[in-house]
Point group: C2
Chain length 344, copies 2
């Protein structure tokens, strides 16, 4: 990060937005009118528009003590794109508004917008609006992501059917373990600022926390393999919580197998080090931004060679409940212990 | 307001959003999928999508000491719809996210959402998404408004032409005078809580501050009279500031006549009482949410009978600058002293 410090009130609101977004290029023909007017204009040319929004608050959703602003800008975009992909749609535009206290310099905001720009470039989305203002305390981020989908091809959470296979992308629990590590190192640092954080060999779990990716590749695989999931959502609050949403909205139950839940070796090692059960981390840890979807059993052969997709169980009738089958063949009720913003 | 107090963590995040939005009805065929999934889905059936967003922060954009939560919910919607109308578009959907500290009860949030619902009903827009979370301090509101417009019929700020007439809707300066009054009464109350606020005969300016309206009616008048403005924007930061934006983006200058600036009698009386110049209040006061637009001189006859539209001047070449012609025929440069979120 730059060590210069320029006070923001030199630029004024309009100068600031112009300055922060001057390197942004548009990638989509659907972006008809971008930043600079009362509103932006989009034309998805006959496709349907998919829209999602998130509000991220310092001290609630992120901790700037261990979150570099560039990563934060990247992540703020990605977590919203993840919701667009979870509808089986293609993200095309975002709006980004921020509010910040006077402890933030222009250079700090530039770092943040650099991360935003990198995410926009990587995922081919256009920044088309938003504003900046002051806050009384902390950094506040509001992102709205917009995408497109052929009419009525979006995939909901409520349309799973009994007998469908339950699949997840990638691996689970790593972001939670990255958070556990960062919180532990923060505590050590707060108690003794001489001790430097020890993040050796923890690249994977730290990376999953600080720089998550949206699973555009999975949406592409599903399309290429001609698989239309029967239901889909992204995993932001932990597998347990999301499975319960999917079952509730589809009015069904599920069985998942502990041994089938994908957990990275680095996550297992970290869980072991912290004295945590890796399965519990995968079930209840949040912020993985993997995709959870169901598909017909007849599609199973199409994904057997896909390393990034794991079949973890199946959908059953509501009366059978939502249960985990452990390695020891015991049955446990799945309960939502996901990251609850209102929890204790 | 209700005097009950229910703590919010009884409901959890999903229960809270379900509870707060259970009375909301959808009004638009374009709302394909609403609250409850990863994202909402809209189909504007061949029309273009117009989108705008705002972040409103307690202590920066509003003061809960004199802003009832129901009014705040209403206003948070309306100020975003105003941006949609300013594009000549019709608002169709909004997303609304809020964050709040633990001093807010469920009943307080219900008040807020009641105001949101009243605005949605009045302007026929659908609440289709958003989330709720905690904040470390204060109340934070993020709104995104979505609208539709026939392809390429939107009106920008940058397309005024030399010789065009400059028009404004309604009257200006009232919201600023309402704010001045409320701030003054707040100061008196803080110094001596025994003294009740004196708002007698100030309904108009207080109403303009606390419950502004978006000028849907003006858009309808323009359409009915077959007037296509050459440029348009809403007045949120004060007439001076907005005129300078419009001139800068159109690469032109302007002349406006002090005597033509519409100011309500109640605003003149309040300005007199506070020792302020009503013209300065109209030029620099913000939050009027009136429309500023330019039109061809040939359209003049079509609006002479419209009491809600005032012609205040004309567009000229850039070299002639942006100037106010006073009642005494003096020329002054128009300078931006609008509400600047980064000002001192």
């Amino acid at each position: 990060m730059s060590t210069e410090r320029t006070e923001i009130d030199k630029l004024g609101e309009f100068g600031l937005i112009e300055h922060l977004t001057e390197n942004f290029e548009t990638h989509n023909a659907s972006t008809i009118l971008s930043i600079g007017d009362d509103a932006a204009v989009i034309d998805h040319f006959g496709k349907q528009t998919v829209i999602t929004t998130d509000l991220l608050i310092e001290g609630v959703h992120f901790d700037l003590m261990y979150t570099p602003l560039k990563h934060l800008g990247y992540k703020a975009v990605v977590v919203n794109l993840s919701d667009i992909y979870a509808m089986n749609a293609t993200p095309t535009q975002i709006t980004m508004s921020i509010a910040f206290s006077n402890r933030f310099s222009l250079e700090a905001l530039e770092e943040f917008y650099e991360g935003v720009n990198i995410a926009c470039e990587k995922y081919d989305v256009d920044l088309i609006g938003g504003d900046t203002s002051t806050s009384q305390k902390g950094f506040i981020i509001s992102v709205t992501a917009i995408g497109e989908i052929a009419p009525d091809k979006y995939i909901k959470r409520s349309t799973a059917e009994s007998g469908d296979l339950i699949c997840v992308s990638g691996d689970l629990g790593a972001a939670f373990l990255g958070l556990t590590l960062m919180e532990r190192e923060k505590q050590i640092f707060v108690e003794n600022p001489q001790i430097q954080p020890n993040l050796e060999n923890e690249d994977y779990i730290v990376g999953r926390l600080l720089k998550p990716e949206a699973r555009k590749d999975i949406i592409e695989i599903l399309e290429n393999q001609n698989i239309l999931p029967t239901s889909m959502m992204d995993i932001s609050d932990g597998l347990s919580s999301e499975l319960l949403h999917l079952c509730k909205q589809s009015n069904l139950g599920c069985r998942i197998y502990e041994e089938k839940i994908p957990i990275h070796d680095a996550s297992r090692a970290a869980a072991f080090k912290f004295g945590l059960d890796p399965t519990v981390c995968a079930l209840n840890g949040g912020e993985d931004y993997e995709l959870l979807f169901t598909m017909k059993q007849s599609d199973y052969d199409k994904i057997t060679l896909q390393e990034e997709i794991s079949v973890i169980g199946y959908i059953c009738d509501k009366e059978e409940g939502a249960k985990l089958i452990t390695k020891g063949k015991n049955l446990f009720d799945i309960t939502a212990q996901g990251w609850n913003a209102f929890g204790k």
